[in-house]
């Protein structure tokens, strides 16, 4: 089940789902299999009122499932997962 990051080029995206969504719902929305979502990162709430969640999806799998990646109706992203450091 556990996949290390080296096997995937994870991409940070947001998806709009139902209120009590699970990772499988994100997979269905994005048209990818569960193996193409980062199970370690999971589903992270971004905007609880509007049911917006973030997840990390394999970039190649998403490109294959949804060729039009230009901020489609299905998801927003990719978003920068910038390095951060202490001041």
């Amino acid at each position: 089940m556990t996949m290390c990051k080296a096997e995937h080029d994870w991409m940070l995206v947001t998806v709009k789902l139902a209120a009590n969504a699970e990772l499988s719902h994100a997979a269905a929305k994005l048209g990818v299999s569960m193996e193409n979502l980062d199970p370690v990162y999971g589903l992270v709430t971004v905007d609880i009122e509007h049911h917006v969640f973030a997840c990390r999806v394999d970039a190649a799998a998403l490109a294959k499932a949804l060729p039009d990646q230009d901020y489609s109706r299905e998801f927003k992203g990719p978003f920068s997962d910038s390095r951060i450091d202490t001041f």
Binding site: K76, D81, I84, D85, F87
Partner: protein, 469 residues
């Protein structure tokens, strides 16, 4: 007109001026200096008594408030006797001249030397500590607020950093209960990689422990929530390497808000208010997507992390961010020389309080990032405020508590102390921040925002009075 220095040859008027200034008369009881003996007396005026001064152009004015300074014959191997006023071959005199004379460089065939403004060098990375935690309390006027009982009781301060060493804090005399060990958060990847979770307060002493200590200066009764979003690993030569990813911060914020909502606050058995300290950020734009990319972080309020910050702030959680260490005088090496628009991302978010650093005397810290912030984040005036840094505090690694990293939790502690008298269900986060901005000494004196210290240095007592607590 320009202030300059000129050199004159020995004559009585110069000798008298220099002799008077070298023999100051001080009143033993009051310590006052006898100004009459300090070269100000009109009878000893260089301008009126010096023959050389009389030969100068009419539009060149000798400054009689500046006594003549004997410099001997100007040779480096001269003895002390050569600069005795009566023996000195030459004297330096201060004057004000028109620009054209200053630019020409000579008057009556003699050179005109520049007398430029100078200033004390600001504190830079690697400099020794200035002052200690008591000086921090004094600078920010904390005593009266503490005396009124506002010390952070029933306030949680989340330290989003490298993790806290509760043992180190206990060793400094802080209570064992300072870290709330019931709230456990670890990056899931760390749990997966290491197969275990590090308990709250169980991390090695490092940057996060410094932040924890500094938050408790103003809010000694607040309790700390340990969110180790940035890894701290041993580096070469005993150094520490710290690195994190924005997605970890996003997840931590999401979990913090969920925990806050359902288990430990607000108005539940433990806490009434939450303050979130963020002594981290992005040092260089190259760490992010390229400018113009719709998924960029540092100038994009629609980035998921920036949305998360807005969501939490809307619930009156007080979010405090460090401005950054890319100040123009001596930026940190990781800034790679980029010192403009160096307050970026959530650090420049409209809904957060952004902290610059000053020393315990209120002086400029040369590495503290200056405004204006990066355009696009909806705030034109960042930093908001300044708090003390570069002082002897947590003694982690024997170093000063430094960076805007230290100023940030000092401010978070100030907010936490005020929140113990004005919980978040009684006052919006934006109103709390406005109170702090409006009550700095600078703001009360009528000063506007400035790029170095924002609206000025936090004055806790004035803010508390403003809030009526």
């Amino acid at each position: 007109m320009r202030r300059v220095l000129i050199v004159m040859e020995n004559e009585d008027a110069l000798v008298e001026s220099a002799s008077d200034s070298a023999s100051l008369q001080v009143d033993d009881e009051t310590g006052d200096i006898d100004v009459e003996a300090y070269g100000y007396e009109s009878t000893r005026s260089i301008a009126s008594a010096s023959k050389q001064a009389a030969e100068l152009p009419a539009n060149m004015m000798i400054d009689d408030t500046y006594p003549a300074v004997p410099i001997g014959d100007g040779k480096s191997d001269q003895g002390f006797a050569a600069v005795e006023p009566s023996e000195s071959a030459n004297f330096v005199v201060r004057a004000v001249v028109p620009e054209e004379i200053a630019m020409e460089g000579y008057v009556n065939g003699k050179p005109v030397y520049s007398d430029i403004d100078i200033a004390a060098f600001p504190i830079c990375p690697g400099d020794p500590a200035h002052g200690d935690a008591d000086d921090v309390r004094t600078l920010h006027n904390m005593a009266a607020v503490h005396a009124r009982g506002h010390r952070g009781d029933r306030v949680a301060v989340a330290i989003m950093d490298t993790g806290i060493s509760a043992a180190h804090l206990t060793g400094l005399g802080l209570p064992n209960s300072a870290v709330d060990r019931s709230v456990l958060w670890n990056p899931i990847e760390m749990i997966v990689r290491q197969g275990r979770a590090i308990p709250a307060g169980g991390h090695p002493a490092g940057h996060g422990t410094m932040c924890a200590f500094d938050a408790l200066i103003a809010a000694p009764e607040a309790r700390l929530l340990d969110y180790p979003i940035i890894s701290q690993m041993g580096g070469a030569g005993g150094s520490s390497i710290m690195a994190g990813a924005l997605s970890d911060a996003l997840k931590a914020y999401s979990d913090l808000e969920a925990f806050w909502s359902v288990s430990f606050g607000p108005n539940r058995q433990n806490y009434d208010s939450l303050v979130v300290n963020n002594s981290w950020g992005v040092y260089h734009p190259d760490w992010d997507f390229a400018e113009g990319h719709p998924g960029r972080y540092i100038d994009n309020p629609d980035h998921p992390f920036n949305q998360r910050v807005a969501s939490l702030a809307a619930r009156n959680v007080d979010i405090v961010f460090a401005a950054g260490n890319c100040g123009s005088e001596c930026p940190a090496s990781k800034c790679h020389g980029v010192v403009t628009h160096s307050i970026r991302g959530a650090n420049a978010h409209h809904d957060v309080l952004t902290l610059a650093g000053v020393d315990v005397s209120g002086g400029r810290i040369g590495y503290s990032s200056e405004g204006p912030p990066i355009p696009g984040m909806g705030a034109d005036e960042k930093p908001d405020l300044a708090c003390a840094t570069h002082f002897q505090g947590s003694n982690v690694g024997g170093f000063p508590d430094s960076g805007t990293s230290a100023a940030c939790p000092v401010a978070a502690g100030c907010v936490a102390a005020l929140r113990s008298g004005m919980p978040q269900n009684t006052l919006a986060s934006s109103a709390m921040f406005d109170a702090l901005r409006q009550t700095t000494q600078e703001a009360q004196a009528g000063s506007d925002w400035n790029p170095q210290n924002g609206f000025g240095i936090v004055d806790m007592d004035a803010a508390a009075n403003h809030l009526g607590i």
